[in-house]
């Protein structure tokens, strides 16, 4: 996407729903309907700070997909925020203007599935809230397993209970509860699809357990947006633009390129979609790959980088941009 294809929205409601999570409602500034979407979609929210810094963060849409009057997102304050979630929490108020891009779904439900097993960790609950609305429409079997630190962190619990009843299973770390992944996956009917969104360890655990239980890869779905990690500053040369830029510790490579006025196509800004893949022409040090897109061979090959989340530790990095 490019900056020109955004929708102008304003914040119409903000609610602090847990000590760390705020719930935002967004509506078009011109009053028009928002685009319909499918459960699992996210939008990129463009935030312009007073210092001129632009943040573009992906947030899953958690409102009912049939509601075109407003979108809802949930934002967790990140302890090591580079500024995006801090901006959302501290700067926005009701009436604030934002730009968002059209929804993109990189975590869709499999429409032919007869049973859907949803596993969420913490803020990873958000895409499932919209998916549950889609599942209620189709009537296919589903259940949700939701892990949170402690009861006060269990966002959207009332809405989930109302929607799911006995198909909701909540696990509190504070009470020592945990999902028994082996038992959970082993007892599913053949052909079940599993979806997981949460911390990296949870996703890896589900993928590994499903593999060990003999589940085909096509039935294992996950989404993890990686926030661009903070790192050491480094210098990049953009060969086609013929300019050198510095990437500050709390800026991503993609943000630094955009700040220099160069557009790179992207969809997720979280190391998932592969859209911003960029050719590396020269590097005299180490590429620090943080994405989930490139294969291990491609990562070690050093010919490509995903600038949305990945960095470099080197004296010289030349990109084909």
């Amino acid at each position: 996407m490019t900056g020109s294809q955004t929708l102008g929205v304003k914040v119409t409601a903000i609610e602090q729903i847990t000590p760390l999570i705020k719930h935002f409602t967004l509506a078009r500034r011109d009053g028009a309907a928002l685009p319909a979407f499918s459960g699992g979609s996210h939008v990129i929210v463009v935030m312009r700070g007073a210092d001129g810094r632009v943040h573009r963060n992906p947030y899953s849409l958690l409102s009912p997909p049939g509601d075109l009057g407003s979108y809802q997102i949930g934002v967790r304050r990140m302890e090591e925020s580079r500024g995006g979630s801090k901006f959302m929490h501290d700067v926005l108020s009701v009436g604030s203007a934002l730009e968002i891009a059209n929804p993109v779904n990189l975590f869709p439900l499999e429409k032919r599935g007869r049973k859907h097993l949803l596993i969420a960790g913490g803020i990873g609950i958000t895409p499932f809230l919209a998916q549950l609305e889609d599942l209620a429409e189709t009537g296919s079997a589903h259940e949700l397993h939701y892990c949170v630190r402690a009861p006060e962190h269990a966002a959207f619990l009332t809405r989930l209970q109302r929607r799911l009843d006995e198909r909701l299973h909540v696990y509190y770390d504070s009470a020592g509860a945990a999902i028994d992944y082996e038992a959970l996956l082993a007892r599913q009917p053949l052909g079940t699809h599993v979806y997981v969104c949460g911390p990296a360890g949870m996703i890896e655990r589900v993928i590994a357990t499903a593999g060990a239980c003999g589940w085909p890869k096509s039935h294992v779905h996950w989404e993890q947006f990686t926030a661009p990690p903070v790192g050491d500053a480094f210098h990049v040369f953009l060969a086609r633009a013929d300019i050198g830029i510095d990437v500050e510790p709390d800026h991503s490579l993609l943000e630094a390129i955009e700040a220099a006025g160069i557009e790179v196509p992207y969809l997720c800004r979280g190391g998932v979609c592969g859209f911003c893949r960029t050719r590396v022409l020269e590097v005299d040090g180490e590429l620090l790959h943080h994405d989930h897109y490139l294969s291990d061979t491609e990562k070690s090959g050093g010919k490509s980088i995903m600038p949305c989340v990945s960095r470099a530790r080197c004296r010289k990095l030349v990109l084909d941009l």
Partner: protein
């Protein structure tokens, strides 16, 4: 273009289909150069110049009413030209919305759509349809939603579900096709569907096209042109009906090629659909006789050169083996060897 419909023209039997001079001038010639080879020629489906076939998202031209009648004739004989697998219902509604919204916005003199929540009122004046229905409720329409709206929409429509990193052909309305069958291809992946296309697989055209389409964005449709040739202005050149049209290819001679042979151009547009995350692929067929085409001197030269130098594998795949030479011979006296100007616009 404010089109004067020609409701009585036919695409079978006496073949009374003709292009008006205005329709000839707006014909989407797919040859920007004097030779032709495949490419991933996708571009954003943005509004083109006023009067062009891409001025609006969906083009309504002088043949609209006659084409819809032709579609109804095909469906009456072969209902399986429309198909939709059960999990494609949300995509069917997405398509209905896309087509109704586009037509009502771009051709208010012909179509109107009033939405009150899920209570919709659709009016199609050229086809004299006035229908109230409940969006999302298939029982409120006389046919499945995709069939209902594509009986009123020009061109073929194929809907692809996206999963497992692939696109699956799982719904569609296909009655104006260049020798392929939805009934045969339904359920196939993107590369299976395109399996018969020569050369392109080796050129990795489909790897690149698939990767591009998997990332197709809502609100950012894309398009391309494709082409072949057909004897007579026959829209329904389907494998099912091969006995009716296949033998025609032996009738073309250097004397009659200008009137019998038609260039068949497909304006293909692809949209990401919002509720289903599926992709709809519209394949709009434009026909023009070689004589009509040659009324534009630049096009006579251009098409003569393209056909003369066409790769033999493409001659075979496009079904031109029997009559390409006859068309080239008919066009030869109309090509004086002068250079052609770049692009496709008539001089």
């Amino acid at each position: 273009m404010s089109a004067q419909f020609k409701p009585d023209e036919t695409f079978r039997g006496d073949f009374t289909f003709r292009n008006s001079p205005a329709a000839i001038r707006r014909f989407p010639l797919p040859f920007p150069e004097d030779d032709y080879m495949y490419s991933v020629n996708l571009e954003p489906h943005l509004p083109g110049p006023p009067g062009s076939v891409t001025e609006f998202a969906i083009d309504i031209d002088e043949h609209y009413v006659a084409e819809c009648r032709e579609r109804a004739l095909v469906l009456a004989a072969e209902p399986l030209r429309f198909q939709a697998l059960p999990h494609m219902m949300s995509a069917q509604w997405d398509c209905l919305e896309l087509i109704m919204e586009s037509l009502a916005r771009d051709y208010p003199e012909h179509f109107s759509l009033a939405r009150q929540g899920n209570e919709w009122h659709w009016i199609n004046r050229p086809l004299q349809i006035d229908r109230r229905f409940r969006f999302g409720d298939p029982n409120s329409l006389p046919q499945p939603p995709l069939e209902f709206i594509t009986r009123q929409a020009p061109g073929d429509w194929v809907v692809m579900d996206q999963r497992d990193g692939d696109l699956w052909t799982e719904a569609g309305m296909v009655t104006t096709q260049a020798d392929w069958s939805l009934d045969f291809d339904v359920g196939m992946t993107f590369k299976e569907w395109h399996g018969p296309v020569p050369l392109a697989h080796e050129m990795h055209v489909f790897d690149r096209a698939l990767k591009y389409l998997l990332n197709l964005r809502l609100g950012a449709p894309v398009r391309r042109l494709n082409w072949t040739m057909t004897v007579h202005p026959r829209l329904d050149t389907s494998p099912e009906n091969y006995p009716h049209w296949g033998p025609d290819r032996a009738k073309v001679t250097p004397q009659n090629a200008g009137d019998l042979a038609h260039l068949r151009v497909e304006l293909q547009a692809l949209w990401r659909l919002p509720r289903s995350n599926a992709i709809v692929f519209s394949i709009r067929c434009y026909l023009i006789s070689v004589r009509e085409l040659a009324s534009i001197p630049k096009w006579a030269r251009r098409v003569h050169r393209v056909l003369e130098t066409l790769h033999p594998a493409l001659v075979d795949y496009k079904g031109l083996t029997r009559y390409r030479d006859a068309v080239v011979a008919w066009l030869a006296p109309r090509d004086d060897g002068a250079p052609t100007t770049p692009g496709t616009a008539p001089d």
